[in-house]
């Protein structure tokens, strides 16, 4: 089964990176599964830290033991995943970001999210996903 192949790839990649001295966490379409939005994806994406935002995102990542038996698997938080998705920029990434907002409202750190949205220059993209996630609510002011 393809899904088993994806998980085997993730497991092998994760374990292979265990010797790398940089922290890491699962991102991408597969990470959506941890945050209440499952969709077709065969990509097993792992973020290795290379910048300030990424370091914070990986530091804030939470354990994700449900996916594979790779012992210390971690996944980024939904607010960080929203930022990553908006930066990736495809239509499907923006749809993912909208679903993440809708399905994880209680878990999202909106102060951090809004700070990153402004800092990364993705306010326009964020406005669009907000209006789709919560069509009857005006978007909060971004400071």
């Amino acid at each position: 089964m393809a899904s088993e192949g994806v998980l085997a790839t993730l497991r092998a990649g994760w374990n292979a990176l265990s010797g790398v001295a940089a922290p890491k966490a699962v991102i991408g379409g597969l990470a959506l599964t941890a945050w209440n939005h499952a969709r077709y994806t065969r990509d097993a994406d792992v973020l290795l830290v290379s910048g300030d935002f990424q370091k914070e995102a990986v530091d804030r990542a939470v354990p994700w033991p449900a996916l594979t038996d790779a012992g210390d698997l971690r996944v980024v938080q939904p607010d960080d995943l929203v930022v990553i998705k908006l930066l990736a920029g495809r239509l499907i990434d923006r749809a993912d970001a909208a679903m993440l907002l809708r399905e994880n409202r209680e878990a999202i750190d909106f102060v951090r999210l809004h700070r990153e949205v402004v800092g990364q220059g993705i306010s326009a993209e964020y406005r669009q996903v907000w209006s789709d996630a919560f069509p009857s609510e005006p978007m909060p002011r971004l400071e």
């Binding site: 499952a38 930066l87 220059g121 306010s123």
Partner: protein, 89 residues
Amino acid sequence: MPPLQLIPPTDLAPPSIAHLSPRDRARVWAQMVDEGDRLVFEGFLRQHGDQAVARRAFDEWLARRAAEATSAKIRMLRARRPTEHHDGQ
């Protein structure tokens, strides 16, 4: 022209999986991948009528998807560079 709608409104959206356990959510994803692959492959098989040709078309489709996903990731990582920040408004 109406604004582009990214996701269905809540009353038309597929059922939320938030109530499922993390393990069951992973099962939902696995089922989507396996069923999705089967549907796409059967589409190619119907189109080409030959298993080997359909397999080749399926592999090419996967390669195109992978290339598109890779370029999106590169774009995402490049956006991290301070000199390339823009607000996009």
